[in-house]
Structures are given as structure tokens and as C-alpha cells.
Symmetry: C2
Subunit: 406 residues, 2 copies
């Protein structure tokens, strides 16, 4: 087994290796979803409008459809008198052509009758039986949304890579598009490893703890635009883990396992990966997160996160999440990184990248000084900071970038 020859590598090198693996092994898939399920997804293709928008010459004000030339010279003192021949509401069709001396009463959104080339707003008119006084001149095309003036049939409405926020869903709907091709969610098989772990419905026997990584990592994966297949809890056993990893690479695009905390587990995982494929990273110079393993089995990436919940989540967020977002088309959320002042001096270990959970409050980031096994720190944390490997001290009041969990 070659794992003993692998050296602990820098965080940057780990990022580079994982990035290259993702580029080499994966290409984005796509799938078609109904428009009602499209919000939050990312377009996989350019979408052309199948129709002209508006689909007809449309009145954009309530008023009268006129021959513009009829109104030239109209004013408060010398209104133009036209004969109203018809009334057209939105959703109905004009039946008569407007000619010189005539007009049609029209509602916003209604089709402009043939012959008319302007709308005079109702505010500048006065009805007198079938006749209408026009008090303002109208220029040709006034208050008419010409067919295709908004978007033409065949024109690109939305580009590939667009996140379908509510406004984009509205734009697609306006073009009558009822389903769209979006980037597929990478599927991830999630396993928790450890003889001490039990599921939420089990009884807490002595020596056992509840598995928290399955649910936490699953929630983080969904945020990153992935679909989750729950592989459950696996014992620290070569055969069981081998079975689980084999099942995972068959059923999903990636496998993420975490834990356990027992001494031999890291070796069991790396042995299994060497048997089924290869280990590419075995130990990263970060705190917490050192025992992280990355391997490839049957062309799928398998990631072994540390067992302690804080460590598992921090490694996932800082190293894995950005690559999964790249695959799922979800942009890394820039808005979730904000600057705060450090509330107190913080000592870091030189020579490795250190991650620390923080609580944020009133512009300050308060480091949470608990070990990576502590659940209370997760309960209190609003995010984390990353301290470069060559930095030993962060001073009180210093600006720090906080990666927020929300």
C-alpha cells in the first residue's frame, strides 16, 4: 500500500489537486425541469424567445388609438374632434380599421387597430357622445409597444449559466416557456463512519454518540446545489467500508465519508481506496482537518472528511464546497463573505492554515475557543475565518474576512 509515502500537503496544493480531479473526471450534466421547479436552478443552455414580445402592437396606456397626423396641432384651445368607432379591451381584437377622422377607444394591453399609429392618453381627451375631443398632439408610435420591440422571436432571452431568480422565471413565463434545460445537480453519496455512531431514532447506549455529520453535510451539499443519497452509518470495518464505497461510486457522482474518530479508521479508508482505486491526498496541513483523505474510485472522487463535526464542516466548506458549486453551476456566494473586526487577539499555529469558528455581533467577529469536537461551538457559530499558514497572531481590532454559514 502506497499511502504511507504520501506526505501532508498544503491547503493550496490540496485545492489544486481537487480542482484538477474535478476538471478531469466530471463535466456538467443537464436536465429539463418544469418552470414551476426552475427557481434557484442554473440554465444549461442559451434560451431563445419562441415568440415576439409583445406578440402584437400593444397599447401601453388607456386612451384612444388614432392616426397621429390627425392630432398634429391639437391643443387645449383647439382640440381635434374624432369619431369613435369601437372600444377594444385587453384580450379582445379590434374589428375595424382606424382611418383619418376616426379613432378607437383602447385599454392598456389591447391590440392597436390597423390604421392607427398612436395612442392619446385618456387624460388628454374628452368624450362627447360618439365623438372625442383630442387636446394634445401625438407623435407616430406614441404609447404603442410594437410587436417584437421588447424581444424578437429567436432572440436570446437568457444566457446559459443564468441563475433562475424570480425575475428570470417571470421572463421565461412571459415568453410562454414552460420547461427549461438546467444544469443537473451532482449526486453525492454520504456516509458516516464509526463504531460509536448511532442514528437519530436509536437509543443512546453507553459509549455511543449520535451521528451529526450525515445531516450536517447533507444540508451543506443541498446548499451547494447537489442532491444527496444517504448511505447511512458504516462500521470501522474494512469489508463494510469497501462495500459502502463501492455502492456509493456506483449510485452517485461523488462519495463523501466522515469519521470515525477511532485510531485505525483513516487507515481503513485509505486501504479501501488503494484497493478499489487510488489515494491522492492523505493529510492536509490545516487545523482542524489534517486527516482529510481524497481518492478516486471508478472515475469518481471519494472524500474522507475528519469525524469531528466542526472539522468535517470546515473542511467541506473551505475545500470541497467551491468545487461542487462549480459543477452544479451555483456561484460561490460572494455575499456570504463579509469583513468584521476581530474582538480579541487570536493565536494561530504557524506552518499550517488554521480555521476558527466565530460568532458575529455588532461588526465584530468573536472567535469561539472550543475544540473541534464541540457541538456548542457549532450552535454558537455564525461562520469561520481562515488564517494563512505564515500568520501567527491576529490582533484585536484587525479586519478579518468571515465566511458566513447562512
Amino acid at each position: 500500500m502506497g499511502t504511507e509515502f504520501l506526505e501532508i500537503i498544503d491547503v493550496d496544493d490540496a485545492r489544486m489537486i481537487i480542482g484538477e480531479l474535478v476538471d478531469e473526471l466530471y463535466s456538467r450534466g443537464s436536465e429539463v425541469v418544469e418552470i414551476g421547479d426552475a427557481a434557484g436552478r442554473v440554465l444549461a443552455v442559451d434560451v431563445e424567445s419562441p415568440i415576439d414580445l409583445p406578440p402584437f402592437d400593444r397599447a401601453s396606456r388607456d386612451g384612444y388609438a388614432v392616426v397621429a397626423a390627425d392630432t398634429f396641432g391639437a391643443g387645449d384651445e383647439n382640440p381635434v374632434r374624432l369619431k369613435c368607432i369601437e372600444m377594444v379591451e385587453a384580450g379582445s381584437i379590434p374589428s375595424l380599421r382606424v382611418t383619418e377622422g376616426f379613432c378607437t377607444r383602447i385599454s392598456t394591453g389591447a391590440p392597436v387597430p390597423e390604421g392607427a399609429d398612436a395612442i392619446v392618453m385618456v387624460e388628454y381627451t374628452e368624450a362627447d357622445g360618439d365623438d372625442v375631443f383630442i387636446y394634445r398632439p401625438a407623435y407616430p408610435s406614441q404609447h404603442i409597444g410594437a410587436r417584437g420591440s421588447d424581444i424578437k422571436e429567436g432572440e436570446i432571452l437568457l444566457h446559459s449559466g443564468t441563475l433562475l431568480s424570480p425575475d428570470k422565471v417571470a421572463a421565461l413565463s412571459a415568453a410562454g416557456i414552460s420547461s427549461v434545460r438546467v444544469i443537473s445537480e451532482p449526486s453525492v453519496y454520504v456516509i458516516s463512519t464509526g463504531n460509536e455512531l448511532i442514528g437519530p431514532s436509536e437509543t443512546l447506549e453507553p459509549g455511543r454518540i449520535f451521528d451529526s455529520n450525515s445531516a450536517g453535510i447533507a444540508a451543506a451539499l443541498e446548499e451547494a446545489g447537489c442532491s444527496v443519497i444517504h448511505g447511512g452509518i458504516v462500521r470501522d470495518d474494512h469489508h463494510e467500508l469497501r462495500e459502502a464505497i463501492s455502492r456509493g461510486v456506483e449510485e452517485a457522482d461523488l462519495v463523501i465519508t466522515s469519521g470515525g474518530t477511532s485510531a485505525g479508521t483513516g487507515d481503513v479508508l485509505s486501504d479501501v481506496l488503494e484497493e478499489l482505486g487510488e489515494v491522492l491526498i492523505h493529510g492536509i496541513s490545516m487545523k482542524p482537518g489534517k486527516p482529510t483523505i481524497v481518492g478516486v474510485v471508478s472515475g469518481k472522487i471519494v472524500i474522507g472528511l475528519p469525524g469531528f463535526p466542526v472539522a468535517a464542516l470546515l473542511v467541506f466548506k473551505s475545500l470541497i464546497d467551491p468545487f461542487l458549486r462549480k459543477l452544479s453551476g451555483m456561484k460561490a456566494s460572494e455575499e456570504s463573505v463579509k469583513t468584521f473586526k476581530l474582538s480579541e487577539r487570536f493565536h494561530s499555529s504557524k506552518g499550517r492554515v488554521q480555521y476558527a469558528l466565530v460568532r458575529v455581533d455588532g461588526g465584530y467577529a468573536h472567535p469561539i475557543f472550543r475544540d473541534s469536537g464541540a457541538i456548542a461551538s457549532l450552535a454558537q457559530a455564525d461562520g469561520y475565518i481562515e488564517i494563512p499558514k505564515n500568520v501567527e497572531i491576529l490582533h484585536e481590532g484587525e479586519d478579518v474576512q468571515v465566511f458566513l454559514f447562512e
Copy 2:
């Protein structure tokens, strides 16, 4: 009918009226969800830990469980020799008590045997058959996570109002909590009104347009933490609209209708609301969005948005969304408001609040100069700016706050 007496009111007054209505008519509901569905929801109650964490005195390093006093004075030159009586892995239970002169081999996560009060890391030991040399002194409690030292049974783990991000889901799971009481999603009945509107599966006949507001507003409601009941398209008809509003207030917590664009629609809605309940706002001094109507029917708020998609979305985002988020417990997303420089001079109409869609690019916000019926503007927009009523000109290069759609 009293609506003719209602005056167009300021945006701030509209916000005040809507805020008071929400406070008066609604209180947050709550419901219990499984932990697997809890991510993204907001806790409705304080959650206490039902167990001590860790649930037992737990080794936080691989090594030997010892009587600390045995090791005082140990050093590289004068190691202490102890007899190893047992080996305990995570998930198993020690069967023997550790007494002076003895120790137990222990794995991270395993229960500390009775009698032992410290763990010596394996790095500072050397095995010699059943004996172990200890090269470093250990202080009492070293590398032991005492039962309840992280969180005590009955202690508050997470407070009411906490957004359940992945780290919080992990914390709940660690405490063995499999379901939680979260704030209910307010249900909203969504209607689009207009004789010209057709659904996505219908054929585009002359004079008709596809309904875009149903899907766009539904997506925006889901982002605000609401559940949507689709009421479909309703004709500009007093009877039909009355039926739809009655059904809506029966089935949902709020009703949101939009459009249509035909002249009489605003009056039809306000007439229906006067008949079934009362109209409180009929016209807001904003552009776009002036024809917005707010009423109350059977103790439920009914909102009539303008028909034009841009106007409907802007009124929803700027006036309605913040109150729905308050009800659903979702914080207004501060991260979605960012500062950009305006790319060019922008004229606003004095005396009313103006909203303009913008595209953002390289630190600049580019106003999109299209009317509020334009779908292309929605397709291009990244967000919007709000220009106060007393501002007439925004200058090129001026800082503007952009409310981002993503």
C-alpha cells in the same frame, strides 16, 4: 363604495399601514418537521439538549488513559512504566478500572475508563509488551472531554429564531434531535387577473399574452419563506374575481393578485374588496407601482399588484417581501444589498419614489431604460435601485444601493 375617497399615499405610509396590518392580523404559526427537512427553516422555540454532550467522559486523543498522578515527573530521560490492562476503541465500553500503576490503551472518541483522569497522547509513549513507557507528565483532565462539558442536558442548544444552516442541523443531530418545531411558512394564494392572459400550455391567440406574474411572484414568495397556492388566471370580471378572492382568503393566509392591464380592473378589484371587506390602500406614490391596492377580507390581507411584470415584481420586492419575511422568520437578506457606482446620469420624477432595474458589472450599476412592460429588462436585470421622492437626479459615478435579485 368608499374607494374614490382614498388618496394616493407615500411609500413610507404604505409600509406603515402594511406593517400594522401584519402585526394586527397575523401571528407566527409553527410546525414540526423532520431534521432532514429542517435546513433553511427557522426555529420557532428554544431547543434544549435532551442529553449531555459528550454523553460520557470521552478521550479526545489516541493514547493511554492513566491516573495523572502516576505521570508527574515523567520525562524523556525518566519515563514512567505502567501496565496496560485493556484496549478501548470508540463505540466500545471499558470493562476494567484503572488504578495506580496501570493504564488502558484508548482511541479518540472512546469512553475513559473509571479511575483514569487523563489521557497521554500515544506520541509520548512507547509500548513494551504489556508495559508502556510514559515520557510526559499529564495533568488531571488532560485530553478528556468530560460528560456534559460541551453541553449539559436541559441547556439551551439553539435559540428560537435561529436559521437552521447546515452547522445548526449538525448540532441538533449531535444531540439526537430528529425533529424540530419551526416557524410555519405563511401560505399565499396567487392570482393573475386579465382577459388577455393565458397559461403556459395554451396557444397564443391574437391579442393574448402569456401570464408571467404567477410564476415570478410564486418564485419570489418561496424565496421569502412562503408556501404558494396557485389560484390561476382570473378574468376581469366582478363575479369571477369575487369568487377567486373568497376562495383565496379561505385557503391561504394572504392573497396576492396582479394585473390586469385593462382599464377597469383596478376598480373591479377595489369594488370586490369593498364588498367582501375593505380597501386600505388604493394607489401608492411610486413609479412603477402606482395602482397597487391593499385590502383586508375576512381578516386576511389581499394585495393587488400592478399587471406589468416589472412593476409587479418591484412592488412585491420593495413593499411586500419584507413583511412576509418577518412572518416566515426569514431575515431580510442584508447580503443582497450592495453598493455600486452608477454608470450614467439618471433622471427621476420628483414627488414620488422611483424604482429602476439595473444590470451590475465591474462595480457599476447600469440602469435599464425600458418601460415596466418590458420583459427584456427583467431578463437583463441583476437587481433594482430605489430613488427617494425628493431626488431628481442621480449623477454618473454616484454610489447607489442595489437590491440584488439573487
